[in-house]
């Protein structure tokens, strides 16, 4: 653990990747919401 903290792997690699995963999920939610509205529009509801 000490080694990980010392080598800055946590701050420079792991945290950005976790942030990226949360971020993509967040954007997917918005995108998915629009896709549902869009699909409803096409179907005509």
């Amino acid at each position: 653990m000490k080694h990980i903290i010392k080598s800055k792997v946590l701050t420079k690699r792991i945290i950005p990747v976790i942030m990226e995963i949360i971020w993509i999920l967040f954007l997917y939610l918005i995108f998915f919401y629009d896709a549902i509205i869009y699909f409803k529009k096409i179907v005509g509801y």
Binding site: K12, R13, W23, D34, I42
Partner: protein
């Protein structure tokens, strides 16, 4: 089809002019994309200036412009006749030796989308702003054969270089050509500019992907299918940034001065480019002081840079000064111009974050409805944004510096627009472009973390989704109706008049004069001037349709009549449903013209559906 042929000829002429200027200025050491971008930037900018000069001299006539254009085309063709087979051979070799790469999928998506945009742009203009302002100003100039002060309109007192390109389109062919130049072509050239800038920080593959991401953002989609000036301004400003960044990288002052020419064209196209000048000068000072220049040594290049920018953009501002007494109309005469519309709802500084969320997603946090007279930036450029923090320190210092400058410029320009009266994404399009360029380094990092094919797949899914959902492809009953009419128009089954009648004039809630009203208006005397009380779109109306915002809200009958007489208005037009909606929106009582007490002054001479045409009976007041 003739519009497309003239467009190709125009592209060749613009490139030829740009190439000639480039040779005269002796600019070398350019990459292929920089060379192409510079030639188009200089070429189209010079064409704007040329048409402007013809307009000032009163020579904005088809019989002068058309032969001049044909002569230029023939001269260029004779000069470069030997290069044509070489070019064809180059394209042939590229096609024969083609190898499929997975990222080409994104390129094919782009080709299909650009082809669809081209198809749309080959149909007549139906965009409201274009019809009421950006196309009407050039058409009024052309009617008179000169640039003059249109007394009842304020749109002609803004920077008009891009409207000169629209004038050229109208003179050479029609409004469709104007749309092809200022919409479709400028969209393609903007993505070329993004590619060129991105090449400074990323490889060829990522640069192409970045340029395509920019081309597909929803904000661009409706600007491409219009004659609005935003794309032209964006193209000139992005070309400026391409050369400016080249100077930042290699320090040769020649590139800084050439970038000044392009910035001059951008400032002559839209006031917003002033902020690029302000920011650019700041960066020049920073860079020179960092490179151990003394303040005295720094003054000379900065002064030359500013002088070049001023010299190129000056004609437009001198014209404004002569006509209005205000070179930057309306900011000196009426600094609060546009604020009465109350569009900007952001009151506190911390709402800047909300503003960013609004313009990127087009929603209020999280998925609440948000209304904006523009389309959002979209989420595709921000897909890999958190990765910007991933091992940033390991990147080359110059790349890091460029990315920081581009991001700061986005924060700077969007911050200014946040405080402005119309905080729409289209006004910060160059800054958005630069932000997309910065996002290219995130794509690069995503390549390192994830598998390359996976990144391409994620991007392709989002790109297709964006194009389908936000970019107005013909899905849904109304768009399908339009698409079918466009196809019929394209096949020659219906005429332009019939197409416009179906799509625009007689469509419910279109806000345009209907076809029967237009037929009646066509029977009026030639010098008739019609005041519109709502958002009437003037370009297709056969008589001068005057829109004066202050007369739309005037409450005193004597002042109204005096001002109408001053503007030589003889008729008034309004659509009842639109006017009710408009006055409700503005939260003011109904216009006094509709007051029964004044019916003896305003005679209804024609009405159709809910549209009315009144004749102003000035004699009845004198009696």
């Amino acid at each position: 089809m003739i519009d497309l042929i003239i467009l190709i000829m125009l592209i060749i002429v613009a490139y030829g002019i740009g190439n000639l200027i480039k040779e005269i200025l002796n600019i070398d050491n350019l990459t292929c994309s920089e060379n192409t971008l510079l030639c188009f930037g200089l070429g189209f900018g010079t064409l704007c200036l040329l048409v402007f000069m013809l307009g000032v001299m009163g020579l904005l006539l088809k019989k002068i412009v058309f032969p001049l254009f044909i002569c230029m085309f023939i001269i260029y063709l004779i000069r470069n006749i030997k290069k044509i087979p070489l070019f064809i051979k180059y394209i042939y070799n590229k096609l024969v030796n083609y190898h499929f790469n997975f990222y080409h999928i994104i390129f094919y998506i782009f080709i299909l989308y650009a082809a669809y945009n081209l198809f749309e742009c080959l149909t007549p203009v139906i965009n409201g702003d274009s019809l009421s302002a950006y196309l009407q100003v050039p058409s009024l100039y052309i009617k008179k054969g000169a640039i003059y002060n249109i007394d009842w309109m304020s749109w002609d007192d803004l920077p008009i270089y891009i409207q000169m390109l629209s004038s050229l389109g109208l003179l050479l062919s029609s409004d469709i050509l104007a749309q092809l130049i200022t919409g479709w072509l400028m969209g393609i050239l903007c993505s070329l500019a993004i590619y060129t800038i991105t090449r400074n920080v990323a490889n060829k593959e990522i640069s192409i992907i970045t340029a395509i991401i920019f081309y597909t953002i929803p904000t661009l989609s409706w600007l491409i299918y219009s004659v609005k000036i935003d794309l032209g301004y964006t193209f000139f400003e992005l070309s400026f940034w391409a050369l400016f960044i080249k100077w930042l990288k290699n320090g040769n002052f020649k590139y800084l001065y050439i970038s000044g020419i392009l910035l001059g064209f951008a400032i002559g196209s839209k006031y917003h480019a002033f902020f690029a000048l302000l920011f650019g000068v700041g960066v020049v000072i920073f860079k020179l002081l960092k490179s151990n220049f003394t303040i005295k040594q720094s003054v000379k290049p900065i002064l030359i840079f500013i002088s070049i920018v001023a010299a190129i953009s000056m004609p437009c501002y001198i014209k404004n000064y002569i006509y209005t007494g205000d070179p930057v109309y309306p900011f000196l005469t009426n600094p609060s111009w546009g604020s009465d519309e109350n569009v900007n709802s952001y009151k506190q500084p911390w709402e800047y974050i909300r503003y960013q969320y609004n313009i990127i997603t087009g929603k209020d946090f999280f998925i609440n409805h948000f209304s904006m007279s523009d389309k959002p930036i979209g989420i595709v450029p921000f897909l890999f944004f958190p990765l910007i923090f991933w091992n940033l320190s390991k990147r080359a210092t110059k790349t890091k510096l460029i990315v920081i400058i581009l991001c700061v410029y986005y924060i700077f320009l969007s911050g200014i627009m946040f405080l402005s009266v119309w905080p729409y994404p289209r006004h910060i399009l160059p800054a958005i472009g630069l932000l997309v360029v910065s996002s290219s380094i995130c794509i690069n990092k995503a390549y390192l973390i994830l598998k390359r094919d996976m990144v391409i797949t994620i991007l392709s899914v989002f790109l297709i989704g964006t194009i389908l959902m936000y970019d107005g492809l013909p899905i849904g009953s109304r768009s399908q109706f339009r698409f079918k009419r466009q196809l019929e128009y394209f096949q020659g089954k219906i005429t332009k008049e019939e197409y416009l009648r179906l799509i625009l004039f007689d469509r419910e809630n279109s806000g345009h004069m209907n076809s029967k009203m237009m037929q009646f208006v066509d029977t009026l005397e030639k010098d008739a001037r019609i005041l519109t009380l709502d958002y009437g779109n003037g370009y297709y109306v056969p008589r001068t349709l005057v829109k004066i915002p202050e007369l739309m809200i005037e409450r005193d009958i004597n002042t109204l009549l005096r001002k109408m007489r001053e503007n030589r208005i003889t008729y008034i037009y309004y659509s009842k449903s639109n006017i009710i909606k408009l006055y409700k929106q503005l939260n003011i009582p109904m216009h006094i013209v509709l007051n029964d007490n004044y019916s003896y002054i305003f005679d209804v001479i024609y009405n159709n559906n809910d549209q009315y045409l009144l004749k102003v009976n000035y004699d009845s007041i004198n009696k």
